[in-house]
């Protein structure tokens, strides 16, 4: 699994229009869709934040982390520990603390892992995530394999997050802000340097860039943003368990990023939505004779991802960009 050297960084006009329409649809959704579906969409937006945070590493910097869920889960657990049994806790200090905690964990683990490259990076990130997973899985004090309940959603002053609609819009605003921030970062000197490291790390170092510092900063930031997603997830579901930091969660995030198209954050967000939609479709598959298709959704999901990689190696966004370009190609 190697990162691509060429990304679609500048979004084609058609994709921009699509993203604008999607935003309008998301703004309108709670007024047209049922509560059940609004909650499902809110979850997709949370996963979009998670996938975008991973894209900073995977698509932009070329670091494929197979342990990104660790930072997602840690912030969720932070909220669980900080919320007392009988009352809500303020979002205004628990959110920064949870995000900072995930960022700090990513920083400390990053010091060790960003020195490695390629397949070794994949393995070491996975190993650390497994350690975090078992730390929580095996310790009753930390909730053990059953996890922990969060009885109250965090209190956010004027915003009553217990109201599903308010929570929905709070999540939507978070997602849009994260996207805007990461898009800005992509074109900043820091973002250009990260892209340079993906394309040719050797030359970057020969030009005076300390690759360790840049990668560590990216790893820390990605961990913190994954923490934001994890915090929102925990607040929404009112429940955390070790699976949040499990291997499957990390692998799903990678697939979301690949599915949508790497390196521009829009792809990661679109990928998260597409992945969840397809996943829910597969889970609802009917019984086929003796064979329960829905129960074996992972099999179907695997086939789906393989098909996408074969027919749209640059993801859904890459495919869209290609379709648009075709008519003008022969002489161009």
């Amino acid at each position: 699994m190697s990162a691509p050297r060429t990304n679609i960084e500048v979004l084609p006009r058609g994709v921009q229009v699509f993203l604008g329409l999607a935003l309008v649809a998301l703004l309108a959704f709670p007024w047209v869709g049922s509560d059940f579906y609004a909650q499902m969409v809110a979850r997709m937006m949370i996963l979009a934040i998670f996938a975008m945070s991973l894209d900073l590493l995977q698509g932009v910097t070329g670091l494929v982390s197979l342990g990104h869920a660790a930072y997602f889960g840690l912030a969720g657990y932070a909220l669980a520990f900080l919320t007392p049994q009988g009352e809500a806790v303020s979002l205004w200090w628990t959110l920064p603390l949870a995000v900072g905690g995930s960022g700090l964990a990513a920083f400390l683990i990053g010091i060790l892992v960003v020195r490695t490259k390629g397949i070794y990076f994949i393995m070491v990130t996975m190993a650390f995530a497994q350690m975090v997973f078992y730390l929580f899985f095996d310790n009753k004090v930390l909730g053990g394999s059953d996890g922990l309940y969060i009885n109250f959603k965090p209190a956010a002053g004027l915003f009553d997050l217990e109201d599903k609609r308010v929570f929905y819009y709070f999540t939507l605003v978070s997602m849009v802000l994260v996207y805007a921030f990461l898009r800005r970062l992509l074109w900043s000197p820091f973002g250009r340097a990260l892209a340079g490291l993906r394309v040719n790390e050797h030359r970057m170092r020969a030009m005076g860039y300390g690759s360790f510092g840049y990668k560590l900063a990216a790893f820390t930031l990605a961990g913190g943003l994954a923490g934001l997603a994890g915090y929102l997830w925990a607040a929404q579901t009112g429940f955390v368990n070790p699976e949040l930091m499990g291997f499957e969660m990390s692998a799903h995030a990678i697939m979301m990023v690949i599915l949508g198209g790497m390196g521009n954050f829009a792809g990661a967000a679109v990928g998260a939505f597409a992945f969840e939609i397809v996943l829910n479709l597969f889970k609802d598959m009917p019984q086929l004779g003796d064979f329960d298709l829905g129960k074996h959704w992972q099999l179907l999901m695997g086939c789906f991802v393989v098909l996408v990689v074969v027919f749209a190696p640059r993801g859904l966004l890459g495919m869209a960009a290609q379709l648009r370009r075709k008519p003008e190609s022969p002489d161009a």
């Binding site: 900043s188 000197p189 394309v199 050797h202 030359r203 170092r205 005076g208 510092g213 840049y214």
Partner: protein, 255 residues
């Protein structure tokens, strides 16, 4: 006597039993080109790698502008004022020519790690990149993707990127490799233009260029220096002719 910017003393690099570079000493002076020639496998590229911090030497030391840079990381050596171009084109192929040079120039900016402003809005960096681009005659190709320009242009881009990091010392590894006659002439003119401000190490196989450009010539064979003097002196050296230069030099005299 011109100022010595880089000095290497008794550099040795062993890979197992093989001494790829064996006890090599050399100086680079500001305003002079020091050419290193030798057959393939003589250790010229390994020498460049030792000087630039890409490889740590087994023994010996390297001083750059008075500091001991032996075993420094490549990024630290670069920030200390050493720029280099590569034998095999080593640029950012998916990026535009401009972005390649701009990224090189950005490495000198104090805000190279800035997060929120557009990278293309930093004037000092743009000026530096622009100057390097013009010096190397690439201003007409700025928007071309580096992977799509000609081989000769990629060689020019190599130099432009090295120059954009404002080096005092330049290590140029076969800048003329694979170039046509016209392109090679342009490159020689470029090297003459940048020579006054830099101390240059030139590893090159093109003997016309070597004798046209160099002020000092070192000949390496099997990792060792067998001659190091003014080019005319080396050309007349019977030992050098026997060991390596013979054929190529005869061609040079008669051809």
């Amino acid at each position: 006597m011109p100022e010595v910017l880089l000095e290497a003393r008794n550099l040795t690099k062993r890979f197992g039993g093989l001494a790829a570079v064996n006890g090599v000493s050399l100086d680079l002076w500001r305003g002079r080109i020091h050419a290193v020639i030798g057959p393939n496998g003589a250790g010229k590229s390994t020498l460049s790698n030792l000087l630039a911090g890409d490889l740590p030497p087994t023994s010996g030391d390297v001083r750059l502008g008075g500091s001991d840079i032996t075993s420094w990381s490549p990024e630290r050596v670069s920030r200390a004022g050493l720029g280099r171009s590569y034998q095999k084109t080593n640029v950012f192929l998916p990026f535009t020519v401009w972005e390649n040079v701009r990224l090189a120039a950005q490495s000198r900016a104090p805000h190279a790690a800035h997060w929120l402003h557009r990278a293309t809005n930093f004037i000092a960096t743009n000026v530096l990149a622009e100057r390097a681009l013009e010096l190397c005659g690439l201003e007409g190709r700025r928007n071309a993707v580096a992977g799509t320009i000609s081989h000769g242009e990629q060689r020019q881009l190599e130099i432009a990127m090295a120059l954009a990091t404002m080096p005092q010392v330049l290590l140029l590894d076969e800048p003329l490799a694979g170039m046509g006659v016209a392109e090679a002439e342009r490159m020689v003119a470029l090297l003459l233009r940048i020579k006054p401000d830099h101390a240059i190490l030139l590893v090159e196989h093109d003997m016309d260029a070597v004798f046209a450009l160099s002020d000092h010539l070192t000949v390496m064979v099997n990792g060792q220096v067998i001659a190091s003097a003014r080019p005319e002196t080396v050309r007349a050296d019977a030992g050098v002719q026997a060991a390596y230069l013979g054929e190529e030099l005869q061609e040079y005299h008669h051809g």
